[in-house]
Symmetry: C2
């Protein structure tokens, strides 16, 4: 029964997911404050900004100022998101960031058409140019990423065989370009996954690719985030994207109720309570979640920041006895 | 891998949990409205009121009026909670209700001392009187219930062996009184459970008692509710208490952030998406969750009522193609 990993790596995406999504303008200095606090929790990977069109995403118009404003901590990788070569060049130019390239494929043709106006074949071809661009810039191509890996609002269910095929394509692109992927990220972009579909797909993938590490990017739109993460842990998943306090939402999902990533401190709580190491100080992270809520000025979905860490209760009980 | 049950039974506790917990007065008529709507979703068990001291719980002072006001649906069991014989007599007197008796034990002596000012031995002895009271009133003793089965804010971890012992005591009390328990309910009263501790305890109990049906009552204080329910399903649990929209909170937990039961429509969503029948119309239930939010006048924690049912999306996609 206990096939859980001893340690997982958590990639914090709250600053990027959240500040890109929030309606009102958030002062640059407050974004920097949250990022600097997150960097003191033991998190070793924080995605802090996206380099996207400031007309489309005004909340990220200050991306360069945010990057220049942080106080980098040793051992923390500060990363960013970009959607095209214009964004990538901005990320390269600003410095400080730990840039990692991805090979991106989407498991839904309808999603791809709608969001990037491309066919799957065109998207695959584009990955060759993108990998070349990364290589020429000396940027490591770290991972393959499969969007909409579990289902799509515009297409419905995604058969696992299609995801397996896309993973193989990503490995092919990497091999043909002489790069080696550290891991494959499966994104439940539109929150169609259930714990059973997580187990089914990971079961097939881990059988076929026993030496590849898999990561999950889980949106909590239908409340399945933590259950899906647990199912992933049971299948030996060792990397998760997550978002402090549950900051964020998915602007691409095509519906208003779309929620952000699974909540970091709730995920860390579950891991620690089940004996899985994350390297993160949960109490410090809970403080960050409360800070995030204060910064955005409205309640965020995280539970443990309200319900409280159990370790603190255990310590208090021990001190009393 | 797929050891999931084909069907689960869900006991809706939202009206009782929620209206007992909410601060402001809620008009009796609105409580009745929600209960009558819930009774049309396919739910076959709804706990609608508690008969408790109206000075301690003013939100339940109208319990009799609520019971008298509903329009009972055939096939729906309307139940109630009481904490002592005064409450039980009120429940008996009002009629309409489907009264079921429980044998209640708590796995934490500290919790018991604090909430009932009893020792475990005194609580066990009291169960004999309670069972006799039920028998004399012609009320079926339906279940054993173990509170704080996974951990306690005032005592810490609860060893599984202690829960096994309490289950045995309940079976003994039942046997000595010539009654037979339909199932045993394990309550994570203070939200200490994780998916692994659910699996561990259920694994031990199901090994020892292969013929007994187990139920889970899960509080979502630390965001583990749905993940814990999934772990329960994986261990063959076939009954769950839950609360529409996540209505409620636990007045006994001794801390402010205590959340209500796992959210009914999120649980039903997960079950349906994994092929588990509940007999419930999810869309009708989501309408009830929205009604509950309107009645209490503030956001409630449910996710699917915001994120939306996937089956509706599938049907829309099918209609378009």
């Amino acid at each position: 029964m206990n096939d859980l990993p001893a340690r997982v790596r958590i990639q914090e995406e709250g600053p990027r997911e959240g500040f890109q999504y929030e309606k009102g303008p958030i002062p640059t200095q407050r974004k920097i404050e949250l990022i600097d606090r997150l960097a003191q929790t033991g998190l070793d990977h924080i995605q802090i900004v996206s380099f996207v069109n400031p007309k489309a995403v005004p909340g990220m118009a200050d991306a360069e100022d945010v990057v220049r404003g942080i106080t980098p901590q040793p051992g923390v990788a500060y990363t960013a998101l970009w959607l095209n070569d214009v964004g990538f060049k901005r990320a390269l130019a600003v410095g400080t960031l730990d840039l990692k390239g991805s090979i991106h494929l989407a498991a839904s043709a309808a999603f791809l058409k709608r969001n990037q106006n491309r066919t799957p074949q065109e998207q695959l071809q584009a990955q060759y140019d993108i990998v070349r661009m990364y290589k020429e810039s000396g940027v490591e191509v770290e991972r393959g990423s499969v969007m909409a890996a579990f289902g799509c609002n515009f297409e419905g269910e995604i058969p696992p065989a299609r995801v397996v095929e896309l993973v193989q394509r990503q490995l092919d692109v990497a091999k043909e370009n002489g790069v080696s992927l550290t891991y494959i990220l499966l994104a439940d972009t539109m929150a169609w996954a259930t714990p059973m579909s997580i187990k089914r797909l990971l079961g097939i993938l881990r059988e076929k690719y026993p030496d590849i590490e898999f990561a999950l990017h889980l949106h909590d739109t239908r409340g399945m985030g933590i259950a899906n993460a647990f199912a992933g842990l049971e299948m030996g998943v060792t990397r998760f994207d997550s978002s402090v306090a549950g900051l964020g939402g998915c602007p691409f999902a095509g519906h208003k109720g779309a929620a952000g990533n699974v909540c970091t401190e709730d995920l860390v709580f579950m891991c620690h309570e089940m004996g899985i190491d994350t390297g993160i100080d949960l109490d410090a992270l809970i403080d960050c979640a409360r800070l995030a809520e204060e910064i955005v000025g409205h309640p965020l979905p995280g539970s443990v920041m309200r319900g409280g860490n159990l370790q603190a209760r255990r310590d208090a009980l021990k001190a009393r006895s």
